[in-house]
């Protein structure tokens, strides 16, 4: 309880102190992520990539590359490793473009899933041992860095607003899981709450985010 209150204070402070984040003027595909229905620009490009179209791959890069790098770096932190994983992810987009199925979500969601999952897998394989010990020892995670990532981005007012609509504990769970790459079990152990509670929080939080962001169901 005390911990939650402290976190609340920290979050509030960080929300007020908005920081400049380098490299934030990034173009991104505005429509795609919200519309899993008709094929958007990115989905159409990926269909062309599946046929070996290098120009389309270039276009995919322009559209989603910065997002891939951003999320990978948020999870991995180390710039060199992040760059490596970003390359692997984008090369995988090239390689497995034919596996993208527009009927099962947007192209943005597909690429971001590849990116996030790979980043998380990298972090977990590297840190598996060390992390298990550390997560018990250090309760004082730099939440500021996590929140900062979202709070400071210019183009992301909507995401920021929706994250703010979450309860304190929901937001914690989402940021720890998504931006730090922790499992729900690790989050539960960090926050000192039962795993069942964390699972519920994560699902409730994402449902609320989804509804706030206007993602089609």
């Amino acid at each position: 309880m005390t911990q939650a209150a402290n976190l609340g204070g920290l979050l509030l402070r960080i929300t007020i102190v908005t920081q400049y984040w380098p490299g934030e003027a990034v173009p991104r595909d505005p429509g795609d992520a919200r519309s899993p229905g008709p094929p958007s620009g990115l989905a159409a490009q990926i269909a062309l990539v599946a046929r070996g179209d290098a120009a389309a791959f270039d276009a995919v890069f322009e559209q989603i590359g910065p997002s891939v790098f951003g999320v990978v770096k948020r999870v991995i932190r180390d710039p060199a490793q992040s760059e490596e994983v970003t390359q692997e992810v984008l090369l995988e987009v090239w390689r497995s473009a034919s596996k993208f199925d527009a009927g099962r979500g947007s192209a943005t969601a597909w690429v971001m899933m590849l990116a996030h999952r790979r980043a998380v897998d990298r972090v977990r394989s590297v840190q598996a041992e060390a992390e298990r010990e550390r997560r018990v020892a250090t309760a004082d995670i730099p939440f500021d860095e996590v929140i900062e990532a979202v709070e400071s981005s210019l183009d992301r007012e909507r995401v920021r607003r929706c994250l703010n609509s979450l309860t304190e504990v929901q937001r914690e769970s989402v940021t720890l899981a998504y931006y730090r790459g922790y499992t729900y079990g690790q989050v539960a152990s960090l926050l000192g709450v039962p795993t069942g509670t964390v699972k519920t929080r994560m699902r409730d939080a994402l449902i609320r985010l989804r509804d706030c962001l206007g993602v089609a169901e």
């Binding site: 991104r28 890069f61 090369l91 995401v159 994402l206 169901e217």
Partner: protein, 278 residues
């Protein structure tokens, strides 16, 4: 009893959020995916939650480091793409087997089955690495299986194929990888992706003239450190040759290509058809 089942299903269902954020251990992920396969409602929910998490990701977008795009584009140029069908992994290698005219039909069938199941048993990164290396590694595998190489030695061949694939992947994704192309005398274009940091390069060529069976293309590193044979190029497929890795690059090296007896030479015996400063 019934109540319990429903309760455990509900419990399973709450994993949708954690799953959509990859906040789940590998065994849990597998278990939940089995659950998803039989629960359309859950699958729909996961899809919609993934859209929300994707926005969390795009919100973190950051300008790409210089050169990253060029490196990936260069790697893509020599990376085989997966075909859409389910036969994705086995089919191209089966084709390689067919190309091996000396193998009997039944041997080919065995090769296809064995290579296929071996490939399916690979973990995902293994597949990527293998696909990156493309034909070269696959050819070694197929030859090993088709000609029934004894077990120990076959394992060795597989290890070699995998090592070479990994080396290739390492170069292609190296921080300082650069791509260069150059014309080959007598026809064709050579493309190399080189990493000075890794002291290695990956060589591929398009449209090389087909040589008589008794001859082959040999790749060389030539420089102050001497003339070193790199490898005999494998036979081209669909006009593409390679990829072949050349490691141990030294300062001042050139990459050269000559026409040599199929068994290879210790020193170039014919004029250079390619001479690229590295």
């Amino acid at each position: 009893m019934r109540k319990l089942t429903r309760a455990s299903q509900r419990d399973e269902h709450t994993l949708a959020g954690a799953y959509a954020m990859d906040a789940i251990s590998a065994p849990d992920r597998e278990r939940f995916e089995r659950h998803l396969a039989g629960c359309q409602e859950c699958a729909q929910e996961v899809t919609s939650l993934r859209e929300a998490t994707a926005l969390l990701g795009t919100a973190a977008a950051e300008a790409l480091p210089a050169g990253l795009k060029e490196r990936v584009m260069a790697a893509a140029a020599v990376t085989r793409q997966q075909p859409p069908a389910d036969e994705a992994i086995t089919e191209p290698h089966a084709r390689t087997a067919r190309a091996s005219a000396r193998a009997s039909a039944s041997a080919r069938a065995i090769a296809r089955a064995k290579v296929g199941s071996w490939l399916r048993s690979l973990t995902w990164p293994g597949r990527l690495v293998l696909a990156t290396a493309g034909a070269a590694a696959a050819a070694v595998l197929v030859i090993a299986v088709v000609f029934g190489v004894a077990n120990g030695s076959m394992q060795q061949q597989l290890d070699q194929a995998q090592t070479s694939s990994q080396q290739i992947a390492v170069v292609l994704t190296a921080h300082d990888a650069v791509m260069t192309t150059g014309p080959v005398t007598g026809g064709g274009t050579a493309t190399i992706v080189m990493s000075h940091a890794r002291h290695a390069l990956v060589f591929t060529a398009q449209g090389l003239r087909t040589l008589p069976a008794s001859r082959g293309y040999e790749l060389w590193l030539i420089g102050p450190a001497g003339t070193r044979p790199v490898a005999m190029l494998p036979a081209g497929r669909h006009g593409m040759t390679g990829p072949v890795i050349a490691s141990g690059l030294r300062q001042g090296d050139h990459l050269a290509l000559t026409d040599e007896p199929a068994s290879g030479s210790a020193h170039p015996t014919t004029p250079m058809m390619l001479d690229m400063a590295l």
